[in-house]
């Protein structure tokens, strides 16, 4: 398969214009001794053949398991119109909108996306997206460090452990001190967080709901931070924002999050979309593209990339971040999703999640030797304490057709018997019941072991 239009005859005409007799001559600058030692690639294939190959690969994946797996990445319903809108090639075959006059479609959509983020989070200004929730959190830490001139970041243990690992990787070569506050199932541990705050702290990183699905109101932590000149950073699950107190209302300085749950397919990890919002005061320290509304010479309203003096293509090594592209097409999906759902629709999605999760909790509580962790209110995800190794139980649940949740032992040593279970609006009463029966069945085949203490 080839996508080259020019015929051999046209190529010859063009070579004549270039004053050379062969294409090879155009590559004469590449010394012979630097020519490829090998370039052994498969022969080209037709569209049909490639489709057949990849259909076979796709069929090897267990995407059909009934999904109770979350961990920050959720199996939500996506209306067909989101795909239709994102499939408009006027959007997806465009570049970053450097020429605003012919990019008003992308630019206005990004401006509206920023508005969605501000409305959801209660913040003043949003960027046009970042790579994902984890890199967004890292950028927020960098922002806090630059804004305060201090070196220390306090990270709550309820922050997604994958994101915490990312933070540590990114800063391994930089002089940033991290202080991690352990969490066990419940809300942020106030005593420990307050004890860690000091004059060298730039920011405190929190998550709501946290990795265990627990809802918190971090207002007291935010207030304490502000009294010490520390910035509060909060990573949020945007669907829950339809119900929960928005971070802007409790004074959070930088909000980040993963937008996958808003109309983006799971796609084995990406592309997803990070979002970030902050106060106008901190706007000039924010990384990533920002779209602003302005007017043209005739007073007509239009949109441009703005505050570009922060960015790498202008400031090079002095830029606030090295980010060039964002995830514009994912932002477009998020905006289409939120526009289709609307205030009421998103609220309903969140309420469905909340109620179905509550029902599941109740149902699973009835399983003997299973304990549902209920120290604090949760949204749509919660932990189960099993009388056996959760990874082992998960394996058995997979055999029964479920992606049953995430065994916490992988990231929280000592929590080997805990399973993190997510319930979205897609799960039905029947599926929740079937899950419970399958789990009962799995547990029956194992002799109950002494229950581990809850806080180990």
């Amino acid at each position: 398969m080839s996508y080259i239009a020019n015929t051999a005859r046209q190529q010859e005409e063009m070579l004549r214009v270039c004053g050379v007799s062969s294409i090879g001559e155009l590559f004469k600058d590449i010394p012979e001794n630097l020519r490829p030692r090998s370039f052994s690639l498969p022969r080209g294939k037709s569209e049909l053949e490639v489709h057949q190959i990849l259909e076979r690969y796709a069929a090897q994946n267990y995407s059909h398991l009934i999904n109770f797996l979350g961990g920050g990445f959720y199996d939500h319903f996506i209306p067909a119109a989101v795909d239709a809108i994102a499939s408009r090639s006027e959007f997806y075959t465009a570049y970053t909108p450097y020429q605003p006059e012919l990019s008003q479609g992308t630019l206005q959509a990004m401006y509206e996306f920023q508005s969605d983020v501000c409305r959801l989070t209660g913040m003043e200004i949003s960027n046009a997206s970042l790579y994902d929730g984890g890199t967004a959190l890292y950028e927020a830490c960098q922002m806090a460090i630059h804004a305060t001139g201090r070196p220390k970041i306090i990270v709550d243990g309820g922050v997604n452990p994958i994101y915490r690992k990312m933070l540590y990787s990114y800063t391994a070569n930089l002089s940033i001190d991290f202080c991690e506050i352990p969490v066990s199932h419940g809300q942020s541990d106030r005593e420990k967080v307050f004890a860690a705050l000091d004059e060298s702290t730039a920011g405190v990183v929190l998550q709501n709901p946290n990795f265990f699905g627990v809802i918190d109101n971090h207002a007291d932590i935010v207030d304490k931070c502000h009294s010490l000149g520390i910035l509060a950073v909060q990573s949020v699950y945007p669907v829950s924002m339809a119900l929960l107190k928005p971070p802007g209302e409790i004074g959070v300085d930088i909000v980040t999050g993963e937008g996958q749950s808003l109309g983006i397919p799971l796609s084995f990890g990406g592309p997803y979309i990070g979002f970030m919002a902050t106060s106008k005061k901190l706007a000039r320290k924010m990384p990533g593209r920002i779209v602003g509304r302005t007017v043209d010479g005739q007073g007509r309203e239009g949109f441009v990339l703005t505050l570009q003096a922060r960015e790498q293509h202008i400031r090079r090594e002095k830029a606030t971040s090295n980010i060039c592209t964002n995830e514009a097409l994912c932002a477009l999906r998020v905006h289409a999703y939120l526009s289709l759902l609307g205030s009421q629709g998103l609220r309903e999605v969140a309420e469905l999640c909340l109620n179905k999760a509550a029902y599941a909790k109740n149902r699973f509580k009835a399983i003997s030797h299973v304990k549902v962790m209920e120290t604090s209110p949760t949204f749509n995800e919660f932990t189960l304490l099993l009388p056996m190794d959760a990874a082992e139980a998960a394996g058995k649940m997979i055999e029964r057709g479920f992606a049953p949740g995430f065994p916490l032992g992988r990231y929280y040593p000592g929590m080997e018997n805990y399973l993190l279970v997510a319930v979205t609006e897609k799960r039905t009463r029947y599926e929740i019941g079937a899950f419970a029966e399958a789990l009962e069945d799995v547990l029956r085949s194992f002799a109950p072991q002494p229950t581990l203490s809850e806080n180990t």
Partner: protein, 481 residues
């Protein structure tokens, strides 16, 4: 065009959700709840579809117009690749599945795609190993810099500088700085358009951690001194970074690995035809030579002796996690489909035609514009509107006039070292007829610049808006409705 929120009619719905089929047991205490909003728009599905369709018509894309935006490789994005990414077996696959016990067996098809694409990229570039995790080109650069830092740390080297040519993309110095390095720019020789080797010799030393190079560089010129530069870097144990932004030019003609580059990134959204999406998502896989392989981020996909694939995290010297999972998987999937379709021969032809097309445009315009480096170019050419600027018509004016002619303008004012630069990259998928009409438009513009420079200042006239007040935008910071 009216902002979507202004179209909102309270009570109107775009999506109907299933009724709750369980008892409503969910309860969140008041202190955690929001008291109002969020005020999203309330519209019907048709309202929303019309809004976005109207927006889409205010955009230029590769599918609508010739888009010779230099350094961006705006080639055609095959529809077939889009279709592949939507296959349910890939699009509904949860990334945490393989992290469950024996979970790798649940995602063999996806892991195979990752493994095989990594092997293909190794063969295309001559590198030893790849990671697909970086989610954009700049993210790849940062990952590369982190690998370099890990290498030096492991050897006990104390190095704090990275040398970068002054013509480089802005992301290069920025990525190096973010990774903790001091950036030392090296000038470009004004005769050859390549790194000034004697200036490089003066800059390099034991403090140099790496040299970042784009080759062909942003002037579209292949640097013939790379062996010399490689020797220099080895002398000081500085690593060589290859910015693969311009890989499209050299497919099958040059492999960075053969020239002893230690680390590189590839922009799948350029060379391997995945859509740019109006500014992402892209993908910036990073390839390394033997010396850096042990530092690659985790997880890595391995192929076991029985032919199955699994994730491996057991690399004690790894830089760790740079992405939550395996990168922008569906972008990688599209690139994989593209490479399978083209095959080795197709990739070589793609590169050859990209270079031919760029040279054709350059030679067709050389009598009408200044060509600062009139030598064979690679996949893009840089011309200068110096002559036109003297008449009061700058590169930006030309860009805006081109819009009225129905073309997306080339990149303007970049590279920074060329005055009034217009950087043109036609790509291999454009036909001679399309380029000819662009060339004609450029010639007409050059003529009009002489005849009536004043008419340029009102351009563009055919777009929904004219030139926008960027100063006002930055001052007002009206960034949300």
């Amino acid at each position: 065009m009216t902002i979507i929120f202004k179209k909102s009619i309270p009570g109107r719905r775009g999506v109907t959700l299933p009724e709750l089929d369980v008892e409503p047991l969910g309860k969140i205490p008041d202190g955690y709840l929001r008291t109002s909003g969020p005020e999203l728009c309330e519209l019907s599905e048709l309202d929303v579809v019309r809004h976005f369709t109207e927006l889409s018509r205010k955009n230029f894309g590769v599918d609508t117009n010739f888009y010779p935006l230099g350094s961006c490789t705006m080639k055609y994005n095959p529809k077939m690749c889009e279709k592949i990414a939507q296959l349910e077996g890939f699009s509904s696959l949860h990334p945490l599945l393989p992290q469950l016990r024996r979970g790798g067996m649940l995602t063999q098809g996806a892991l195979a795609v990752i493994y095989e694409l990594e092997r293909l990229l190794c063969e295309i570039t001559g590198m030893e190993a790849f990671t697909l995790q970086p989610m954009a080109g700049a993210h790849g650069e940062l990952t590369g810099m982190m690998l370099i830092a890990a290498y030096h740390k492991n050897k006990g080297n104390r190095k704090n500088e990275v040398i970068i040519p002054d013509e480089a993309h802005g992301t290069n110095p920025s990525s190096a700085a973010i990774a903790g390095y001091i950036v030392k720019p090296v000038p470009t020789n004004s005769e050859t358009g390549m790194i000034d080797v004697s200036a490089l010799e003066a800059l390099i030393g034991p403090q140099t951690a790496a040299i970042m190079m784009t080759n062909p560089n942003t002037l579209g010129i292949f640097n013939t001194h790379i062996e010399k530069i490689a020797q220099l870097s080895r002398k000081f144990d500085a690593l060589l970074y290859y910015d693969g932004a311009n890989l499209n030019a050299i497919l099958g003609k040059f492999r960075p690995g053969d020239a002893r580059f230690d680390v590189m990134h590839v922009n799948l959204h350029k060379t391997f035809a995945t859509p740019h999406g109006g500014g992402g998502p892209g993908a910036g896989p990073v390839g390394v030579g033997k010396r850096l392989e042990e530092f690659l981020p985790v997880s890595r996909v391995i192929k076991r002796s029985d032919g199955t694939y699994s994730l491996n995290y057991d690399y004690p010297k790894s830089i760790g996690y740079i992405a939550p999972f395996y990168g922008n998987f569906s972008v990688c999937l599209k690139a994989y489909a593209y490479i399978l379709m083209l095959g080795g021969k197709g990739l070589v032809e793609a590169g050859e035609n990209a270079v031919l097309n760029a040279n054709y445009v350059m030679h067709s315009l050389k009598n009408h514009y200044t060509v600062p480096f009139l030598r064979t170019c690679m996949h893009e050419c840089v011309i200068s509107a110096k002559r036109q600027a003297a008449l009061g018509v700058g590169a930006l004016d030309i860009a805006k006039m081109l819009i009225d002619e129905g073309f997306h303008p080339p990149t303007v004012y970049f590279p920074l070292i060329v005055k009034e630069a217009l950087m043109i990259e036609p790509t291999e998928t454009e036909s001679k007829e399309t380029m000819d009409s662009f060339i004609d438009a450029m010639k007409t513009i050059a003529r009009k610049a002489q005849e009536d420079p004043s008419r340029f200042h009102g351009a563009p006239r055919t777009t929904p808006v004219g030139r926008l007040d960027e100063v006002k935008a930055a001052r007002d910071m009206d960034c949300s409705a």
